[in-house]
């Protein structure tokens, strides 16, 4: 089992540790609901060092990324980041990721931990006719996220650089006290605002400590993967391996906004074909009107009880106080307001399609 550089802090804080994507990671410290609410109301700090970082450099870095990812990379300014995905030729999603434009011909890709090896292999296979260098620096970099309405105030205490000048989905290289160069990105997976902070592994513990100290008076709490999951679900963000994978396409997953058909990319033909034939299932938000949590794999039915889809992620929304879920359902039932049922153990619970995000 791999460990992140921050592992000793999780043990000190008596986090509940679980295996995740080959890493021993904290699922919660003080309780998922409490951590969730701290992020919505004040701030939370997450160790997400298990995520993978790849560097793509060379004269063909831009055309290569245009080909392997679906979003419009040429539109990125230096210092800007974007959400994107990589596809197989048949249109299935290899991974969803962030692309950072570090400079002319220099990019960073941030990928899901469980997919690091698969993604890197995929990129290597696709890179043959491009003049690019690929580097998997996942073991070199640590990543922590400070998220929530107080995140700016907390991180700002550690630097002279005016962080409010970094717009959403932009980043900058900033000195945080004695940490000379951190990549600070105005991004996150919580929808609560805040930063993702990339530092070399050697200074990860120190960075965590100074952030915790800076945040103590503002209510910063350490948060685990449990709260990360409920936070992203309230915002309707997809989780790879649950809501999206190689058997789903971005058109089905509601990710058309990161697919740019004006350019050529791997998987484009398959998506065009799917579009022409009609999308038969869609990822939708569901709210349950009963006291049960829709779990991954539960069957979704029409009002007659006929199966028309399945739950991919579900949780109790701490903010709404309602059970919420993402589910693939037959397109005929995908409009907001559609009445459906979810098979929860031996009964059918009342559910309704809701427009995403929930919050």
């Amino acid at each position: 089992m791999k460990k992140t550089a921050l592992h000793p802090r999780h043990l000190q804080l008596k986090a509940r540790m679980v295996p995740f994507a080959g890493f021993e990671m904290p699922v919660s410290y003080s309780g998922i609901t409490q951590e969730h609410m701290a992020v919505r109301q004040a701030a939370g700090i997450f160790d997400v060092s298990h995520m993978g970082e790849f560097f793509v450099e060379g004269p063909d870095a831009l055309p290569f990324l245009e080909y392997v990812t679906t979003n419009y990379v040429a539109g990125l300014d230096v210092g800007q980041a974007q959400y994107s995905c990589m596809l197989r030729e048949h249109g299935g999603i290899v991974d969803d990721l962030l692309v950072y434009c570090l400079g002319e011909d220099r990019y960073m890709m941030v990928v899901n931990a469980a997919n690091i090896d698969k993604d890197f292999e995929h990129l290597r296979e696709q890179s043959h006719r491009f003049n690019v260098n690929l580097l998997n620096a996942s073991e070199v970099w640590s990543l922590m996220a400070v998220q929530g309405p107080k995140a700016l105030e907390i991180v700002q205490k550690l630097t002279e650089t005016d962080l409010s000048e970094i717009p959403y989905y932009h980043f900058d290289f900033v000195a945080l006290n004695s940490v000379e160069e951190a990549l600070i990105s105005n991004t996150g997976y919580t929808g609560a605002g805040g930063f993702e902070i990339y530092v070399p592994q050697e200074v990860a513990l120190h960075t965590w400590d100074i952030l915790m100290e800076a945040g103590a008076s503002a209510g910063l709490v350490p948060c685990g993967l449990g709260a990360r999951d409920t936070l992203r679900l309230e915002k309707g963000y997809c989780l790879y391996g649950q809501d999206i994978d190689e058997t789903t396409t971005p058109l089905e997953a509601g990710l058309s906004w990161i697919v740019k058909f004006q350019k050529d990319f791997l998987g484009k033909e398959a998506l065009l074909q799917q579009k022409a034939q009609g999308i038969t299932r869609k990822l939708v938000g569901l709210v349950l009107h009963e006291k049960a949590i829709p779990r991954t794999g539960y069957s979704v039915c029409d009002t007659e009880g006929k199966p028309i889809g399945r739950i991919t992620s579900g949780a109790m929304s701490p903010v709404l106080g309602l059970p919420i879920a993402l589910a693939y359902v037959s397109s005929d039932y995908s409009s907001p307001g559609s009445r459906l049922k979810v098979s929860v153990r031996e009964r059918l619970a009342e559910a309704e399609v809701k427009k995403l995000p929930f919050l």
């Binding site: 509940r16 998922i32 609901t33 006291k291 949590i293």
Partner: protein, 126 residues
């Protein structure tokens, strides 16, 4: 972690406290801690006679759902309805306000399979 001496414990992590001719049943401190934040307690067996070891309800936490098992044979006579609106009480006070059901033990009810606090503590490694 608390394991009060006056209670009996099942291997399924329920506790039992005799109160007159009724048995009060809940889940242990260990169980609530393993489950994490509890969001629903669902019991629809009030009025039913249930054998020891059979399911009398479910407890749903943020991360997982778990069945609740009868620690002794009897009739479920009451559900702690305050849990319907505030299930988190089971996390905060598992042996007090977080009790789940009251049971009228059957004349045949056997409690010899239940553990005392020391044996239960050993079972869960605390």
């Amino acid at each position: 972690m608390q394991f009060p001496d006056q209670l009996l414990y099942s291997k399924d992590h329920e506790w039992v406290r005799m109160e007159g001719d009724l048995a009060v049943v809940g889940i242990t401190d260990f169980a609530q801690s393993e489950l994490g934040d509890i969001v629903f307690v669902d019991v629809n067996t009030v009025g039913k006679q249930i054998e020891a070891g059979q399911v009398f309800g479910t407890v749903e936490a943020v991360k997982t759902v778990s069945d609740l098992f009868m620690p002794l044979t009897g009739e479920v006579v009451e559900f702690n309805t305050s849990l319907a609106s505030s299930a988190e009480v089971v996390n905060k006070d598992p042996y007090g306000a977080g009790w789940i059901i009251k049971v009228r033990p059957a004349p045949s009810a056997d409690t010899s399979h239940l553990l005392d606090a020391a044996a239960y503590r050993k079972l869960v490694g605390h």
